[in-house]
C-alpha cells in the first residue's frame, strides 16, 4: 500500500502526560511525526491534537485505534489531504538594512500575502500563513536578503464537514452516563 500524507486529529481530556502517551504510539511503530499541534478545542475542557504523518492508510487506521484506546482520548480521526483545510504559520526575521536596499520588497510582500509585524533598525519580522510549500517559497525569496531566524508552526486543520465530528460522540457519552446513573 502506498504511503500518503494523513492528518490525524484526536480529541482528549486535559490530562498530564497524555501527549507522551500519544507520541509513543508512533515511536513504537517507527512512524515519524511530521508535525504536531496541541491546543484547546471549541469545546471547553477538551484538547485537540493535530498530527501529520506520511504512512499507508492501513497503518494509520491501526494507529487511530491505538490512540482511541488511551483512557483519556475521546475520539480520533484521520483525513487525507482532500478532506481538510489546513494552515501553518511562518515567521521570518530579516536584516532591515538589506530590505531597505531591495527594490522589490513591496512586490514580494504583496505577492506572497505576507505581512510585516515589526520593524527595528536591526531587523524586520515578516509573517506568512499558508501551506508548507508556500511558506518555503517565501523563505527562499527572503533568504536572498539573509534570513536571520525562521520558524514554522505545526499544522492546524479543519474538516470540510459541517460540524465538529466529536459532538456526536459527546452526546452518546452523556446518554450512556445517564443510563448508568439510572441503573
Amino acid at each position: 500500500m502506498e504511503q500518503k500524507e494523513f492528518t490525524i486529529t484526536a480529541f482528549s481530556e486535559n490530562h498530564i502526560g497524555l501527549l507522551n502517551r500519544i507520541t509513543i504510539i508512533f515511536t513504537r511503530r517507527h512512524i515519524n511525526i511530521e508535525s504536531l499541534t496541541v491546543s484547546g478545542s471549541s469545546i471547553p475542557g477538551i484538547h485537540k491534537f493535530t498530527i501529520v504523518v506520511r504512512e499507508t492508510q492501513e497503518k494509520v487506521e491501526k494507529v487511530i485505534k491505538q490512540i482511541e484506546k488511551q483512557v483519556e482520548v475521546l475520539k480520533a480521526f484521520y483525513h487525507p489531504e482532500e478532506e481538510i483545510i489546513h494552515q501553518e504559520i511562518a515567521l521570518y526575521k530579516v536584516p532591515t538594512e538589506k530590505l531597505l536596499d531591495s527594490t522589490d520588497l513591496e512586490k514580494t510582500i504583496r505577492e506572497h500575502n505576507a505581512r510585516i509585524l515589526e520593524v527595528t533598525k536591526d531587523y524586520t519580522v515578516i509573517e506568512k500563513t499558508g501551506h508548507k510549500e508556500e511558506t518555503s517559497r517565501l523563505f527562499e525569496k527572503l533568504n536572498n536578503f539573509g534570513v536571520l531566524q525562521f520558524t514554522r508552526s505545526g499544522r492546524i486543520a479543519i474538516t470540510k464537514l459541517n460540524k465538529e465530528l466529536l459532538t456526536d460522540y459527546l452526546r452518546e457519552a452523556d446518554e450512556l452516563k445517564q443510563e448508568i446513573s439510572i441503573n
Binding site: G17, R21, K65, E68, V71, E72, A173, D174, L176, K177
Partner: protein
C-alpha cells in the same frame, strides 16, 4: 486503640453532602481505606523510604489488609498477577520509589500484554523534589507509560480517593490491564477530608462496546452455512466469565474448538468439542486444520504471532469471524470478514440463539486422524519413553492423574511451559497461570505464591525450569515467611532448554551460553525450611509425587529430566501453521 475501618458505616448513617460524610485522615491512611472500599484484603509489596507512611498505615490496619512481604519487587508484582489470574480480582502491589518502582516494570509489561488487572502503588519523593534527581527519584509515570493501561501521579491527598476509584475501575473494566498510581511522600503525610465514591463511568472511556446486531446476523449466516468451521478460544472467554456461554455455543453448533495458551482451562480438557492447543508448540490437528477450515471463529483471542505463524499463509481459505472486546485488536494481525465487537459473554449467547443445531462427524474425524499421527510420532514417545532419562511429559502426566485435573498449574517460560501446557488437563476455569505474551522467565514461583494466596483451598503447582527458577528463587523466602503451601516441581535439565533446542535446530548445535552449572537445589529448599525431594529415576517418580501431595504446606520436588529433549510439534518461525513439524 480501635483502628478498624468504619468509613462505610459512618457514611451511611449520615446524610447530607459529601463533606459532612467525610472523615479526616492522612493520605497514607486514605490509601488503605481506598483498598478496603474496593474489597482488597491482600496486597504484595516491599517497603522503602518514599512509601514509609503507607507502610505505617498498613501496619496500623494489618488486621484488615494483609501485606505479603516478598524478597524483590518483581516477586511482589508477579504474585499480584497470580492472584488476579486465579480470582479475577484486581491484584495490588506496593513498592517504593526509584529502584522499587523500576523493579515492577517487567511485571507491569507482563500484565499489560496478558490483560491482567493490577493496581500498582508506588511511593515517590516529595513533590518539591520532583525533577531534581533526588535520592531514589525516578520518573515512574514516564517509564511505565507504554506498559500501563493508565497511570497517574498523586501530589496531594485530596486526589487519592478519586485516583484510586478510577484506577480500580480502569484496571478491571473492559479489557483488563495494569494501572500505576505514583504517590508523592507529602501526599501520604498530609491530612484531608476522606470520602470515597466508586467510579462507574469515564466520559472518554468505553469499556464494553455495544454489539452490532447486523454483525451477529452476518456471523450466524457464515456459521450456519459452514462445512468445516473451527473456533479459537482465547483468554477473553475467561476474562469475560463466559465459560458457560462458550459451552452453550459449542454444544449447539457442534463446532470443534481449539484453545490458545492463555485460553487453557476456559473449557474442560475432556470436552468433546475440545480439539487441543493452537500455536508454535500446540497440537498437530488444530494447527493444520486452521488452514483447511472454511469458517474460523476467533473468540476473545488476539492472533498472536506464536499462534498464527506466517500471516500471509494463515487461514487464507477461511472466512474469519472475530469476537473481541478491544477495537484495536480487530484487523490488527488478521483481517476479520465479520468483526463482532463486544464482550463475548454477550455476543456468544446472541450467536447461540440464532445458530442452527448441527454436528460435524466427518470434520471431527479429521481431527482424530491428526491426533493419531501426533500420538504416534510425538506423544507416545514422550509419555512412554524407552530411554532411561525422565521426560517432562511423563512427569506432567503423573502430576495430572493424581489431581484429576483439579489443580492450578502455574508455569514459567520455556520447554517445561510448553510441555505442561500440552499435557496438563483442566476441569475448572482459571486453572492455568503462565506468562504468555511477554514470556517472562522467573514468573512462575512468585505467581504461584499469589495464586495459592488467592485460592488457598486449591492445590497450586508451580512447574518451573532450572533457568527460570533461579531468576526469582529468592521468593522461597516469601514461602518461608508467609507459610504459602505451593508445590514446586522443578524440571531440571541443566540447560536453558528452549534456547538450546533452537540452537540445535537453527544454529548447528552451537550451545552459546545455555549450559547451566546449577546449585544443590535441595539444600537451598532446605535452607528455606521447605520439605524437598530429588528424583533421578523413573520408579521413584510416582511415589515422590504422592508424597508431595500428601504433605501439608509447601513442597519442593526436583525432577532431573533428560538434558537434550526437544519440544515437538513445532512451527518454525516464519513457517505456516500447516507446516508444523512433528520431529527433527
Amino acid at each position: 486503640m480501635d483502628n478498624s475501618i468504619k468509613v462505610s458505616s459512618t457514611t451511611t448513617s449520615l446524610n447530607g453532602n459529601e463533606k459532612a460524610r467525610s472523615v479526616k485522615m492522612t493520605g497514607a491512611d486514605a490509601v488503605i481505606h481506598c483498598l478496603k472500599n474496593e474489597d482488597v484484603n491482600l496486597v504484595f509489596g516491599y517497603p522503602g523510604g518514599a512509601i514509609m507512611p503507607i507502610y505505617d498505615s498498613l501496619h496500623k490496619y494489618q488486621d484488615e489488609v494483609r501485606h505479603i512481604l516478598t524478597r524483590h519487587e518483581q516477586g511482589a508484582i508477579h504474585a499480584a498477577q497470580g492472584l488476579a489470574r486465579v480470582t479475577g480480582k484486581v491484584g495490588v502491589v506496593m513498592a517504593t520509589s526509584g529502584p522499587g518502582a523500576t523493579n515492577l516494570i517487567t511485571g507491569i509489561a507482563d500484565a499489560m500484554i496478558d490483560s491482567t488487572p493490577l493496581v500498582c502503588v508506588t511511593g515517590q519523593v516529595g513533590s518539591h523534589l520532583l525533577g531534581t534527581d533526588a535520592f531514589q527519584e525516578t520518573d515512574v509515570v514516564g517509564i511505565s507509560m507504554p506498559v500501563t493501561k493508565w497511570n497517574y501521579q498523586i501530589t496531594s491527598p485530596e486526589e487519592i480517593p478519586d485516583a484510586f476509584a478510577k484506577a480500580f475501575y480502569i484496571a478491571r473494566s473492559g479489557r483488563p490491564g495494569p494501572v500505576v498510581l505514583d504517590i508523592t511522600k507529602n501526599a501520604q503525610f498530609a491530612e484531608f477530608d476522606y470520602y470515597y465514591k466508586p467510579c462507574k463511568h469515564i466520559r472518554s472511556y468505553l469499556p464494553s462496546p455495544k454489539i452490532d446486531q447486523t454483525r451477529i446476523e452476518e456471523a450466524v449466516e457464515l456459521i450456519n452455512n459452514a462445512k468445516k468451521p473451527l473456533a479459537l478460544v482465547g483468554q477473553g472467554v475467561i476474562l469475560g466469565s463466559a465459560e458457560q456461554e462458550l459451552l452453550n455455543f459449542l454444544e449447539k453448533t457442534g463446532i470443534p474448538a481449539a484453545w490458545t495458551l492463555l485460553g487453557l482451562s476456559a473449557m474442560p480438557t475432556d470436552h468433546p468439542n475440545n480439539v487441543g492447543m493452537l500455536g508454535m508448540h500446540g497440537n498437530y490437528g488444530p494447527n493444520i486444520k486452521t488452514n483447511e477450515c472454511d469458517v474460523l471463529i476467533a473468540i476473545g483471542m488476539r492472533f498472536d504471532d506464536r499462534v498464527t505463524g506466517a500471516l500471509d499463509k494463515y487461514a487464507k481459505q477461511a472466512k474469519i469471524i472475530h469476537l473481541e472486546l478491544d477495537p484495536a485488536e480487530i484487523n490488527k494481525n488478521v483481517y476479520a470478514h465479520v468483526p463482532v465487537l463486544g464482550n463475548v459473554k454477550e455476543s456468544l449467547p446472541m450467536l447461540t440463539a440464532k445458530a442452527q443445531q448441527k454436528s460435524y462427524d466427518a470434520w471431527f474425524n479429521e481431527f482424530k486422524e491428526a491426533d493419531k499421527i501426533e500420538f504416534e510420532k510425538v506423544i507416545d514417545r514422550e509419555m512412554h519413553p524407552v530411554k532411561e532419562g525422565l521426560t517432562m511429559a511423563e512427569t506432567i502426566d503423573i502430576l495430572n492423574k493424581k489431581t484429576g485435573g483439579d489443580a492450578i498449574i502455574v508455569t514459567d517460560v520455556g520447554q517445561h511451559q510448553m510441555v505442561a501446557s500440552r499435557y496438563a488437563r483442566f476441569v475448572k476455569s482459571r486453572s492455568n497461570v503462565t506468562s504468555g505474551g511477554l514470556g517472562t522467565m522467573g514468573f512462575a514461583l512468585p505467581a504461584a505464591i499469589g495464586a495459592k494466596l488467592g485460592q488457598p483451598d486449591r492445590e497450586v503447582i508451580c512447574v518451573v525450569g532450572d533457568g527460570g527458577l533461579q531468576m526469582t528463587i529468592q521468593e522461597l523466602g516469601t514461602i518461608l515467611q508467609s507459610e504459602v503451601g505451593v508445590k514446586i516441581v522443578l524440571l531440571n535439565n541443566s540447560f536453558l532448554g528452549m534456547v538450546r533446542q533452537w540452537q540445535e535446530l537453527f544454529f548447528d548445535s552451537r550451545y552459546a551460553q545455555t549450559i547451566m552449572a546449577n546449585p544443590d537445589f535441595i539444600k537451598i529448599a532446605e535452607g528455606f525450611g521447605i520439605k524437598s525431594k530429588k528424583v533421578l529415576h523413573r520408579p521413584e517418580l510416582s511415589t515422590a509425587i504422592d508424597e508431595m501431595y500428601a504433605h501439608k504446606g509447601a513442597y519442593f520436588l526436583e525432577v532431573v529430566v533428560e538434558k537434550e529433549d526437544n519440544v515437538f510439534p513445532m512451527i518454525p518461525t516464519g513457517a505456516a501453521v500447516s507446516d508444523i513439524l512433528l520431529g527433527k
